[in-house]
C-alpha cells in the first residue's frame, strides 16, 4: 500500500504568547494568498505553537521564515469521521487497539463531514490500521 499519499505536511510556527502574534502570522499567509484549511494553537507557559494545514505549505514556510519566524514541517494524517455521536470513538479505538499513541490532535467539522487531524508516534502503522478498518483517510492532494 502506498502510505505516503496519506502523509500531510503540517506547518508549525513558534509564537510568543502575546497579543498580535496570531494576527501577524495570519496576515503573512493572507498576503501570499495561502488558504488555511485547519489550524490549532497549543499553549505552554509563555509561548505557543501554531499548527496549520495550508494549501501551499512550502510557500507558507518560506514566507514565515523570511519574516523571522521559527517554522517547522511535521507529518500528520487526517481521518474522516462520522459527524455523529461515537464518531471520534471509532477512530480513537482503532489507534488505541493498535498501540499507536496520539501525540496531539485537532478537528474540524465542515459541510463534507468531520475531519480529525492526528500527529501520531507511528505514522505508517496508523495509516495501515485505519485503512484496514475501513475508515476513510484523506489524501494529501485534498489539502495541497
Amino acid at each position: 500500500m502506498d502510505t505516503q499519499k496519506f502523509v500531510i505536511r503540517q506547518i508549525s510556527i513558534f509564537s510568543e504568547n502575546r497579543p498580535g502574534r496570531l494576527a501577524a502570522i495570519a496576515h503573512a499567509l493572507g498576503e501570499e494568498k495561502i488558504n488555511i484549511l485547519a489550524f490549532s494553537i497549543a499553549e505552554a507557559n509563555g509561548f505557543g505553537v501554531v499548527r496549520a494545514l495550508v494549501d501551499h505549505p512550502e510557500k507558507a514556510h518560506d514566507k514565515l521564515l523570511s519574516l523571522g519566524f521559527n517554522v517547522a514541517f511535521t507529518d500528520v494524517i487526517a481521518v474522516r469521521m462520522k459527524d455523529q455521536p461515537g464518531g471520534l470513538y471509532e477512530v480513537a479505538k482503532i489507534l488505541g487497539d493498535a498501540g499507536v499513541n496520539i501525540e496531539y490532535s485537532y478537528a474540524y467539522s465542515g459541510k463534507e463531514g468531520a475531519v480529525l487531524i492526528l500527529r501520531v508516534d507511528q505514522v505508517e502503522e496508523a495509516i495501515k490500521k485505519i485503512k484496514n478498518s475501513g475508515a476513510t483517510l484523506m489524501e494529501r492532494s485534498v489539502f495541497h
Partner: protein, 433 residues
Amino acid sequence: MKSWDPRIEEMPKEDLQRMQYKLLKSLVYRLYSFSPFYHDRMKEQKVHPDDIRELSDVKKLPFMFKRDLRDNYPDKIFTSTQEELVRYHVSSGTTGKPTVVGYTQNDLNTWTTSLARALTSLGLGRGDVIQVSYGYGLFTGGLGLHYGAERIGATVIPASVGNTERQIELMQDLGATAIACTPSYLLHMGEVAEKMGVSIKKDTQLRTGVLGAEPWTDRMRTRIEDWLGIKAYDIYGTSELSGPMFCECIEQKGFHIWSDIALAEIIDPQTGEPLESGQKGELTITILQKEALPMIRYRIGDITTMDDDICACGRTHPRIQRIQGRVDDMLIIRGINVFPSQIEYALMAIPEVGQHFQIVVERKGALDDLLVRVELNTGSFSDKINDLMQVRQKVEHRLRNSLNVNVNVELVEPGSLPRFEGKAKRVIDKRSL
C-alpha cells in the same frame, strides 16, 4: 611584532615607574597650585604634594568620581581656558546628566598616540583599510579611532553607525581589512550580511575587529572569530580618559595601559584600598598627561584584574583583563551579585538559543524575581511543546548554576529582542526600592 614607539613600549619596568613617578609628581604640584577643585580635594584629604615621595604614594590622593564631572557641568574643573581647547566631546548621559570633556591640541595628540601604539600592537598599519563603525560626533569612539587609524597610515572608511546594508557593501567594495565597532553591532552586521547573501568570512577581506564600548566575553570573541573569520581584539577607554585608548595586543591577553600616559590601580570598591596584582576590583586611573581635564584616581566603575608581568609581545606596560562587570550595573538579586556578563557567558554555551538577551527584574512580594528573555534559534524549533519546555529548562538550569540564583526563562521569537548600535541596554529593573 613591531612597536609604534619601541623606546617607550619596551622600556624596562623600573625606568617606566621612574617616569611615572616624575609625571605624577609634577601633575600633583600643578593641580595643587592651579586647580581650585584639586587644591580643595587634597586639603580635605590632608595631603600635600610633598607627601608624594614614591609612586605608591598615589594611594594618599583623593578619588574622583563621575559625579564630580556632573556636579561641575559643563567645564568648571577644566584646567585650560576655552581659547586653549580645540574640541569638546560629550558623554551620552545614559546614567545621568551628560558630562563634557575638553581637549587641547596636546590632549588630542596624546590620545592619538595612545591609539597608534594600540592599533600597531594588534598588527594594523599602512596598507590596512579600517572601517570605523563607531558613532562619529559627540561620542568619542568614531573620531578617536579615525585619527588613530590615520596616524598609523591606514586608510579609513568613516562609516559611523547605522545603514548597515550600505556598510556591508562598502566593506566589500573598498576591501576593508579591519573594523572598529561595538561587538554587538558586529554581530548585527553579520546577521544582516547573511540576509543579504554575503558571508563576511568568505566574501570580504575583513580579518581584524577592534571591538569595545560595551562589555563582552571571551566566549563571544570565539563566536565572532569562528563565525566571521576574523581576529577580535578588545579596546578600552571612556570619554573621561579621552575616549578609546587601550587595546589588546596580538597576544589577546588583556589591553596594555601605556604607563607614561596613565597610572592604573585596582582597588576594593567598598574600602578604596589598593589590591594586589591579579585580584579582582575596581579599575582606577590617573591620567598622567592631560592638560584640559586631568584625572587623578578616577573611579571608572569597571570591575577587572591587572597583570603586571611582561607580555609575550615584549611590551612592559601592564595589562588590564577584559572588563567583567560594572560597579553600578551589578544587579543584587536576593542579596547575590549578578553581572549581565555572566548571563551572556552562560548563554553562549547553549546552541539552542541566540546571543541576544534581555533581563527583567521585578519584586514579587518580598522576593526579587529574575526573568531572562532569550531568542529560540531557528533550527532549534521542534513542533513538540515538550522539546521546547526542555530547552527552557536547560537554559534555566544553566543560568541558575552560573549565577547561584533562581532564574525564569522566557523563550521569544528570533529577532524579537532589541538590537543595539551603541551601548547595549539589556536590563529592565522594575523594582522600586
